[in-house]
Symmetry: C2
Subunit: 129 residues, 2 copies
């Protein structure tokens, strides 16, 4: 599996992953993968991250149903960051964030403060039951 060896894993054996919606171009979220999760992601065609908080593999959507179907995997010039273009499944309009928003990047800087500027598409209590 030389393609896995080509990735420059960090000191914790992880690589940062940017998930981008293929159709809209929207950056949806940022998370980490370890070697096993990247291999599973490539094999099953769905995003499998490494949850640092839970210390285990995290098949995105396993609770929420908000699965990310992999469209393509890209590696950067230093081979230490992955860009994963995905189809964000499970809800229309699509939801990637655990807050029930389309994207995790919903706080916008203006005039010396961060402002929440994106709507909650579906309440978290209705996502995680």
């Amino acid at each position: 599996m030389s393609w896995l060896d080509d990735v420059k894993w960090d000191a914790h054996g992880l690589v940062p992953v940017i998930a981008q919606e293929a159709t809209s171009g929207d950056v949806l979220m940022f998370a980490f993968m370890n070697r096993e999760s990247l291999q599973q992601t490539a094999e099953c065609g769905e995003a499998v991250y490494w949850s640092r908080s839970r210390g285990r593999l995290w098949h995105k959507g396993e609770e929420s149903g908000h699965i990310q179907k992999v469209v393509e995997l890209r590696l950067d010039c230093d081979s230490d960051v992955i860009l994963m273009r995905v189809e964000q499944l499970g809800h229309d309009p699509s939801i990637a964030c655990h807050t029930g928003r389309h994207s995790c990047f919903y706080q916008r800087y203006a005039d010396g403060a961060w402002h929440s500027v994106e709507p909650v598409v579906k309440a978290p209590q209705d996502i995680y039951r």
Copy 2:
């Protein structure tokens, strides 16, 4: 400067930053900022990163001329990742990568290997002189 305190800096005082071209939606690069570089980025309206390899502030484009004009700054749900939408200046078509490519994410996974799939727009030796 409470907006800077709202960012959850990592153990090294850094925050990961995703740079996305505002017009195309292309993810251009991934780098880090510290508190000072984020403040300068907001104040001058151009991307100022923290170079971990050089251990100093890095005004993107200072050598290459490939300045990134800030369109907006976004913070994610955990307040520990920044998405910076930019106008990539200095060359047409735009170049963000030190290899002379449009984007740093030019290696695409297919059939068990990473393949370089984006052209070099301008040779690095013609960029860094």
